[in-house]
Symmetry: D3
Subunit: 289 residues, 6 copies
């Protein structure tokens, strides 16, 4: 056994996939991020997640405790994320990084009221868009779309605040749980809903307006991506679609490239779209059967 | 921080997404429902789930304990579900609601032998339909279809017994775990199987006969849904397909609306079907490549 | 209640779905397999999973402990898998089975350096193939493809070593977590990557070369399968595609049957392919929209 | 095995040690009582137990949440205690019992400020009485006396409020943890401290003044107890000592019967006392060695 | 660090305190023994420990499941105990040892009805002997004596059946929890009770009759023990007291050596006894104070 | 409820028992200290605690991992302890405190070989001193004395290294578990053993030689302690006994004050000693009974 342990400890074989941990600079913790998401949900939707009993009189105690806990957890995870990117943050010392993390955590907390307003609009959109929905409660507690979208809104906010790695970890949690894969970079308006959801992919530079509805299996992807002189893909180019207000895209449709789907357009199921779509257009599959 | 806590506790901002919890009327518990599903599986498939050791002589002790535990858990969760719909159950007092919950739990338990018979047929269908299947054990322990279908059969039974919210929570658990989204309202016959399964969607009013097989990504959905005078979708209208006995539907096919796919029909992969399909018909995609 | 317990304990109703457990021959444990996968990942990607703190000096201690723990766990689970197939292993006594399990576990451990080399190539492929990827760390920690492929490489190795049931359980874990369903029998080369991944299906007898990239929803499936004289599917026939080096297959494409997709070919999204594809060919959907 | 199970299920053999559980009337839960004690401590000594981070600004949120949680838990456990004594409470229906439990829980909560004041005096007494004590923090976090006394003050309050069974369970928790056995019926003044503590026994009807200090192994017990006509001990008679203010009792001394140890008396170690002791007296062992 | 690890791994420094673990021959597990004690208690006192809900109709299911679980756990722990003593069991092979363990486990299970009868007598003795006891329930749930005595009766039975190490581990669990230290070798009659209990010590060869009552701090110990020619104590000589029926021994009394305390004798508190005591004698301390 | 929360949050009522937590300066964690003790035991007694399987070949991996983990945990807890004493450490900044903590943790680790040597001597003393002891294994796994003494040797080492609060927390853990209360300040030689142990108290400034044996209930305490001008006890004065080599002290004996018990002396049970005892003296109780 000594022999195999030695080979597996050989630096040459592991240098690309090795990460030196030290207790002062942990990498972001999946379980802490899960708690961050849970606490954020319990602040935004009081009574549906988290605290077992309370009423309107005692609500502010619960929100107070949760906001403080969220702030503390977030500060640590943001710091872990910042520490992970030595290139950008190496010039800062630890104290400065911790200070930066504290400011980011507080900024996030200050965005919570706005976030609740947006998520309420998403719940309303889900309720209005699904004849099978019996109540807001059913949507908040059960619908995978709400899980995926709330994780996205959290992750997107953290991305805007400049946190590395953490946003992607948060969106992959929702991807794993719901089969809905929204890159934290995507910009999404109010009253957004996704029906069923499994297989949906929304790319990093996609921009989605208000009152948009997607069905399961819809891809908002990139057509192709240019390489730099070393053959590496060029990062951060806009390469995913712009979906304007009031668009509906049916199941398994694929919309690719930096095109615009105009206001109120309807894209039918299983359709493959790689060019701009005019406002109000209805693109459908040739029917068979 | 006081300021942000106050804004987040402001009733106007949270009234749509606030649920007052009191200890006497908890909302249904995800972990209790998970245990209910686990216990039901251990009763139906003895030896594959749950108890670590037993033999035929001591089997009835294990089933006895599990049936009693299931009954107790179910009574509490059904009560929680009934309490959640104040509109319908407000006129009943607590004692009457608890009595109703007890009767529903017992009715469910009495349906277990029937449920096992049906699930045995599903296991057989999976075994016969998959050349990669090595044994019944492999199917019961590993196949996502069995997880999704057993959750569905539990959820459907509870829906028929009039339990709110709980059935949907149970089916979403399977959706999250398997990527198979079966609405608890769907009616499904014996010897039902789904291969691979990720992305399958089966709508609320779908009706599926015996010996039906679906592949991954198949949608049995609604074409559209009428709104009432307030612009809200009208609930409970039949709007999903009827799939008759012995139908096979290949991967990523989409079947929409209250149409009938006749006995023994075969729907090819990636096909989009919105009209009735005759008995024995074979609908295929134009081949390319 | 006595009555329903008796009916549920009736051997006739449960003989097909009953498994007698005895403490000496447990069935494979899902939680032990999860630990096996976690430990293997922590050995292959030191610092990203598992041990909280260490550096290059102390790395070999951690790898030593993990290799020993992996060996112990694996021996027990391989033995459980072997015990599960009485037909094949009934003629061996327990001691021989345990000896066989020990040899298999050790063979697996000896394959770890090779496995790391291959998985490093997969990480590189994911990095080069995705403009949204910010670092190797992001890929190792977040990308579902790496989870699915590492589980596959573990499961495939165990399948080659002749372990029943366990490989399928390991690949279904990844299927549930990522929506990517790779049968442990599939043969997959180096520098393999899957983008997004939800809905991907790769069949038991598929053969995939080096530098292949798949997108979400791609199926490498069987067209049909012959039945034996009893109407049961004939097991183990080659019935899934051969994908040669440098092939790209876009989202939701379906490739069926024992066909060959030649080196460097590109299959467009939503395409249905059931015949051989020539080297370098580009098969695309008629564009609409 | 059937035979032994049958014998063990025979009512005649178990009627004295059998308790029928039903879900509506559970017996008090040890883990819930442990949580009740922990929460009470975290309310009384903010920052030493419980919440990981907070400051004076956010303290009231934490206390608010804890008080509400305590109230909820206590209501349930008090109800469980009341349900356990059918003789006394059989004439009340469930609703009345629950109402009674709610009133008791609230009364307990209202006593918390008074309880903190008393416990602060106990901490001070421990600090002043022990040259080895380095800080209040050390006493609050480490000293078994504080654990035993805080459990006692909680249990005694519940006993005064008429709760059956629960107070004894709480005092036995402290007994098990510290080796200090204080019956919840004992009446104990302010500035009370016990050094080391293992083996201390304080009986049901003991009365202890202010500024009393005990050492390890001290017993305040009963000399004998009269039986009723059936040979059963007569309950609730005063049979334990009265210890007045400023008394010190050294290690392993035994004080028995309804005697009075007068103000400021000192009882030496290993002494056996069964008669009244005058104010200011010093009772010592004949020295040897 | 390498240096200190090397020194700590040096065989010379650890040979006396090193135990080679292999997965096939684990040492007895504290947590498994804890579960064994808990299950035994739940079989003997149905409804006070373990299963949350059941009634007389379903009791036998619970007892059946618990008896089987106990049997399985016990077999494994007895085997672990037997494996621990290589000297005595080295000539047996594993299969024989496992067979021996199975026979011992079954013998233990068959003693359960007798064990319940004896423990019921202990509960009765505690109730009759303590004016503070309010109900049998309080005694079963709270009294440390019942915990210590039930552990002892379990441990003693296993010792009689020839199990090494395990009985001592079980009695030390009770010692830690209650401060009552009863060596598993001690022989104890019916209707035995201990009041308060902290500090009680009962030695390996003590023999106690029926209806005996001890108070806290009582020692039934050895006066001295002869050494063999190597200076090692000679094992297994009778060296602790014989206590006949109906004896009462008050707090902190010390009874040493192979003496006999005759029927009905009463030993006062803090007394030191090293000679035989006649039937009916009352030995008391000179009173002071 | 608002009112009671307000009163409980009033600074005046809580200032003496309030500790402001901030995430950067946590107080020492009981569960981390428990892990530190467990890891130290598993390093010192390999195979009895901790790792489930290993042999001499792989032992150094386990010790390496454990030493590193111990070092990391200890650094954090020592830092927490240092942060707790603002008076002494306020002039140091965080970085200096962390540096100091790292040096202390490393010093502790370097003392491990010495600590093992001493604890091996304690195990030998227990084996030789107890005819009921069957093996070293039984002593290491079961004997409360070994638990209490190993915690003491750990705590004492940390006290010598200048760590506040943490040593006392570690010794109180053993006190709670075993009823043996050894102040971390006590100095104790090799081959030390305690039989049974419940109720033993060893004070802060006690000094104990080699080959000393104590029985249950023995107190090595202070006779009295002088107060300073403010009435507070003067800290750190020598006030507990010096026990020279080869002394035996029987159960419940009490030895008080800065006296010396000379080499080879024997103190009988229940004896009260407050003056020096000569070498080889035998102090016994007047026998009765």
């Amino acid at each position: 056994m000594k022999d195999i342990v030695e080979r597996l400890s050989d630096y040459d074989t592991l240098k690309k996939v090795y990460h030196e941990n030290d207790a002062e600079h942990p990498y972001p913790s999946a379980s802490a991020l899960r708690e961050i998401v849970d606490i954020t949900r319990s602040i935004l939707f009081p009574g549906y997640f988290g605290s077992p009993t309370f009423d309107l009189e005692t609500l502010s105690y619960h929100i107070g405790v949760n906001v403080e806990r969220l702030n503390t957890l977030l500060r640590a995870q943001v710091y872990a994320g910042l520490s992970f990117e030595p290139a950008e943050n190496a010039i800062m010392n630890d104290k400065t990084l911790k200070h930066k993390a504290a400011i980011i955590a507080e900024s996030f907390v200050n965005r919570l009221p706005q976030m609740r307003e947006t998520l309420v609009s998403d719940v309303e959109a889900a309720y209005l868009g699904d004849p099978a929905a019996k109540s807001y409660a059913e949507i908040i507690l059960c619908y995978p779309a709400i899980k995926a979208i709330s994780n996205h809104r959290i992750a997107h906010e953290l991305l805007l605040l400049g946190v590395p790695l953490v946003p992607r970890m948060i969106s992959e949690m929702a991807h794993s749980e719901t089969g809905i894969d929204i890159h934290p970079g995507a910009t999404i308006g109010k009253y957004f809903t996704i029906d069923h959801g499994t297989g949906v992919v929304i790319g990093e530079t996609a921009i989605i307006g208000d009152h948009v509805k997607l069905y399961q299996g819809v891809t908002l992807g990139a057509k192709s991506f240019p390489l730099d002189e070393n053959g590496n893909p060029i990062k951060n180019l806009p390469r995913h679609p712009i979906i304007e207000d009031n668009v509906v895209i049916y199941s398994n449709a694929t919309v690719l490239g930096r095109i615009t789907v105009g206001e109120g357009a309807v894209i039918g199921g299983n359709i493959w779209v790689t060019n701009d779509v005019e406002k109000g257009a209805k693109i459908v599959q040739y029917k068979r059967g």
